[in-house]
């Protein structure tokens, strides 16, 4: 066994131990029961199955019933870790045979779990036929009469109860039941094939059809269980297939449901599929499946002297061979000819049919949509749209359909049909009579279900004639808005502009290549713009730099004049500095800024600057300043009041 398998096995055993000791005290125990089939012949077996969830029991015996014998039993435990919750279910199966015909009742009884809970098992009925001709069905509650048909009185021509036709008696020996398929089966574990050493087989497949008696085309639900002992478990790369070509099988999931269980104290991995089979012709046919199976034959490598060899050097030698399932005989009966409805399409099962129509009022020539729904259990591939009776007042169109399956085997589902039907005349028109026919395998009769449909109010002229195209009102949701005239408009006489392909331009590579190329143009333009801006000097910035340089020079000159106490130089520099600043603000030449110019633009500022300009004029024209002038005070005033940045 490979190291991962060892670890997996240990983990599973640990999980089983933990589950046995902890799970059952975490959740309440419950029991479900089943007797399958509920109707057998004398000498045949039925299986009574008890499924106990979250509880464990040691020994259970079915109550003794006169005429019934328990010929074998089997128990298995399934531990499931799902959604963070660990649960355990224990399944007990009893193989029961009857020694005489009659109706038997296995009385109700209680099961006492090891955890101290009491579970109640209800009474189960078993019908045993003495002549060996009753078809075996797996329904515990066998319907003996067809379900009442809705509105049966609405259509007097319809016979809802139809003729009851029994399938022919099977002359073949009783079909083998799932669980007792091989000669090696022991009483202790019915259904499980044995190895030569007497233990349960390491790998085996069990198929369990719902019934072994069916009609041609009838879908029979079937369960496929693939068991492989944990110690030989290997990855599989195939699915079970039916041997031969006598049956058709619905497709099933690539990977079945995986569970682990204990059989005779051996851990097994079980892969389970649900599907349905159908036979295309009548007769007795063997039913068996096989799967191309891999299992671990031996483990090589590793050494007792190498403590790590067991983990790192061992590898599994796989065996590879088809493994067959139990062999069953299916008795396929032809559908009876008697009472077969004219529109029977092969649907077999139990169906409920509903129908509706919309809108309830239309104009002549406008479609009414009929919605039919066929829900139930059966062979949906053969379920066709309910049939409408021929009615000269209506024109019928082909229906569309869709199926939604509600189970894994694709037997339980809803098939919906949508059919258009167009009135040819006006008035209060009843829709054509609709019906759906199928064969009920339980009641063994054909059933035709009438489907009530409403009366439609049809308005307008019975023969709408128009010679031109209708005015376009392109609301596609409105049927009436696009009512076409009854005639096709004539051919065009010219060929028009031809094009060799209908592929639109935008699916051509060149269309996007051209646009990508054109997108480069603005980028290129932007690049040129940036390069040009970097190369070409910015006149404004040079001017600003020059102005700042001049300002700095004038301020330095002012400071030097103060130090030298040179009033002439100070006032010349101060006035020029102010002119530079105002010139920059008003985008004028500094020399052009006289006091009059400043007054024209900003009288308040002119009033503040007037003393400075007057002093400057005086010292410039007279060549000397008034005695007692405090140049430091003037410098401070010029710097703080006159050379501060002014609001624009």
């Amino acid at each position: 066994m490979t190291p991962p398998l060892q670890i997996l096995r240990m983990t599973l055993r640990l999980a089983a131990v933990l589950a046995c000791t902890t799970v059952s005290c975490l959740a309440a125990a419950s029991v479900s029961q089943q007797i399958s089939p509920a109707e057998i012949n004398v000498g045949e077996q039925t299986i009574v199955t008890l499924n106990i969830t979250n509880g464990s029991v040691n020994d259970i015996q079915l109550p003794a019933v006169d005429g019934l014998q328990v010929v074998g039993s089997q128990s298995s435990t399934n531990i499931i870790f799902s959604n963070g919750t660990l649960s355990r279910s224990m399944t007990l199966a009893f193989a029961v045979t009857a020694s005489r015909p009659g109706t038997f009742t296995i009385p109700a009884f209680d099961i006492h779990t090891e955890e101290g809970e009491v579970l109640h098992v209800k009474a189960m009925k078993l019908l045993v036929d003495g002549n060996g001709t009753a078809p075996a069905t797996n329904n515990a509650a066998v319907a003996t009469t067809p379900a009442p048909m809705p509105n049966a009185a609405a259509n007097p021509a319809f016979n809802p109860n139809g003729p009851v036709v029994q399938p022919p008696a099977s002359a073949a020996p009783p079909p083998p039941r799932p669980g007792n398929n091989t000669a090696d089966t022991t009483a202790a574990t019915p259904g499980v094939p044995r190895d030569p050493d007497g233990g349960p087989a390491k790998v085996f497949i069990l198929i369990t059809p719902e019934t072994t008696d069916a009609y041609v085309g009838q879908s029979v639900r079937m369960r496929i269980d693939f068991y492989i002992r944990m110690e030989v478990q290997a990855e599989q790369n195939s699915l079970p297939t039916i041997k031969g070509s006598d049956f058709l099988m619905n497709a099933f999931m690539t990977r079945g449901r995986i569970s682990q269980l204990m059989l005779e104290n051996q851990p097994y991995l079980c892969e389970t599929w649900g599907t349905a089979i159908a036979a295309p012709k009548s007769g007795d046919f063997p039913l068996s499946m096989e799967r191309d199976t891999y299992w671990v034959k031996s483990i090589t490598g590793g050494s007792i002297f190498d403590p790590f060899g067991g983990f790192f050097n061992r590898h599994a030698n796989l065996a590879h061979q088809p493994v067959s399932s139990n062999l069953l005989t299916m008795h396929i009966h032809a559908l009876p000819d008697e009472g077969r409805p004219a529109h029977f399409t092969g649907a077999i099962g139990h169906f409920d049919v509903t129908g509706s129509a919309h809108p309830s009022s239309v104009a002549v020539g406008e479609p009414v949509i009929l919605d039919f729904s066929v829900a139930g259990e059966g062979n949906f591939d053969y379920v066709r749209c309910p049939v409408l009776a021929e009615d000269p007042a209506w024109k019928q169109y082909v229906a569309s359909s869709k199926v939604n399956y509600r189970d894994e085997g694709h037997m339980d589902g809803v098939k919906s049909f949508e059919q258009s039907i167009v009135p040819k005349k006006n008035g209060e028109l009843p829709l054509p009579a609709a019906s759906f026919s199928y064969f009920d395998p339980t009641a063994k009769q054909y059933v035709t279900v009438p489907i009530p449909l409403p009366v439609i109010t049809v308005t307008g002229s019975p023969t709408p004639i128009a010679s031109t195209a209708p005015e376009a009102d392109n609301d596609s949701t409105s049927v009436a808005a696009t009512t076409p005239t009854s005639e096709f408009l004539p051919n065009r006489l010219d060929a028009g502009s031809l094009r060799t392909s209908l592929i639109p331009v935008y699916r051509q590579t060149w269309f996007w290549a051209v646009q990508s190329g054109m997108l480069v143009l603005p980028l290129l333009g932007g690049l040129l713009f940036l390069m040009r801006a970097r190369i070409t000097p910015d006149d404004g910035s040079a001017e600003r730099a020059q102005r700042q340089h001049s300002m700095q020079q004038e301020e330095d000159a002012m400071a030097a004049a103060v130090r030298r106490d040179d009033a002439v130089a100070f006032f010349i520099a101060a006035r020029h500095a102010v002119q530079l600043q105002l010139g920059a603000r008003w985008r004028l030449s500094p020399e052009a800024l006289t006091l009059g110019e400043i007054r024209a633009r900003d009288p308040q500022l002119a009033e503040a600057l007037e003393p400075l300009f007057i002093q400057a004029d005086e010292v410039i024209y007279s060549g000397q300043a008034q005695p007692g002038i405090d140049l430091a005070q003037w410098e401070n005033r010029v710097r703080t009041e006159l050379l501060q940045p002014q609001p624009a």
């Binding site: 569309s400 392109n474 006489l493 502009s497 392909s501 209908l502 592929i503 040129l528």
Partner: protein, 272 residues
């Protein structure tokens, strides 16, 4: 006529002659189209199958056009091939989305097939009527103008000196072009991508007689999940070998054999 003495009059007469010839040419062309005449003649005399065959030959040898697809669809419809008729009406409508005659005959064929109307709304017509080569020209022109605006701004001084146009005026013009061109191109690009996304679905028409079977998976042994009637318009989502995954109305998904469906845009299934 003395060309040297009256050159303008001579040129005007040449222009008139050319214009006259231009308008005469198409009528003389279709009048001399024996294939088209033969197909229309077969149609007029009730040989609808023959007419459809001839129209199909014209399309195969010369190419598609809305009138040819329309005529082929008419012949198919008269011959009772409703699936093919609806397919070719859809092709004609694809080529001429605003043509009311095509829509009229298409809706009539759909009605005969028991299908719901599917006329385009005004905005669908607008989106499907876009001429993508013209669109490409507009977008390219917008991008080129942006390029010119950027280059012109960079060389505004030299341009102003060469053209005696004030530099400030030139820069303002280029700036206006740039700031108008950017949103215009973005808008055109947005509409283009949205419209391509809207129109880029791969559609097909069911051409199987009566109905086509929908399968759960793309294999011969797959279960059936329903049927779709002949002539129904579906969207193709995926492909696996000879099966196409389609979406019908009401999110009705399934796989369908390729032989049961034909693409409106011939060859578009190959891209899947």
């Amino acid at each position: 006529m003395n060309f040297l003495s009256h050159p303008w009059r001579f040129l005007a007469q040449i222009f008139l002659l050319c214009t006259f010839s231009f308008f005469l040419l198409p009528s003389s062309l279709h009048a001399a189209d024996p294939q088209l005449e033969a197909a229309n003649r077969a149609y007029a005399y009730g040989g609808y199958d023959e007419s459809a065959k001839l129209f199909q030959q014209i399309i195969t040898t010369r190419g598609y056009s809305a009138p040819l697809c329309f005529n082929l669809a008419n012949a198919d419809a008269r011959a009772g091939h409703l699936g093919d008729a609806i397919l070719n009406y859809e092709r004609a409508r694809y080529l001429a989305p605003a043509d009311r005659d095509i829509d009229h005959n298409l809706q009539l064929a759909r009605k005969q097939a028991g299908l719901q109307p599917n006329s385009y709304r005004w905005w669908q017509i607008a989106l499907r009527s876009i001429d993508w080569t013209v669109w490409l020209g507009m977008l390219s022109a917008g991008l080129f103008l942006i390029f010119l605006a950027l280059v012109g701004t960079a060389y505004a001084s030299a341009l102003a000196a060469a053209t005696k146009i004030p530099e400030r005026l030139l820069k303002n013009i280029f700036r206006a072009i740039f700031f108008a061109g950017i949103p215009l191109c973005l808008l055109l690009g947005y509409i283009e991508l949205s419209t391509v996304g809207f129109n880029n679905r791969i559609e097909g028409v069911i051409i199987a007689s009566k109905e086509a079977t929908l399968y759960r998976s793309p294999f011969d042994s797959s279960d059936s999940v329903g049927t779709i009637p002949e002539g129904e318009l579906v969207t193709v989502e995926d492909r696996h070998n000879d099966y196409l995954r389609i979406e019908g109305r009401d999110y009705h998904f399934g796989w369908i054999a390729q032989k049961d469906i034909a693409p409106i845009i011939a060859g578009s299934f190959d891209a899947k």
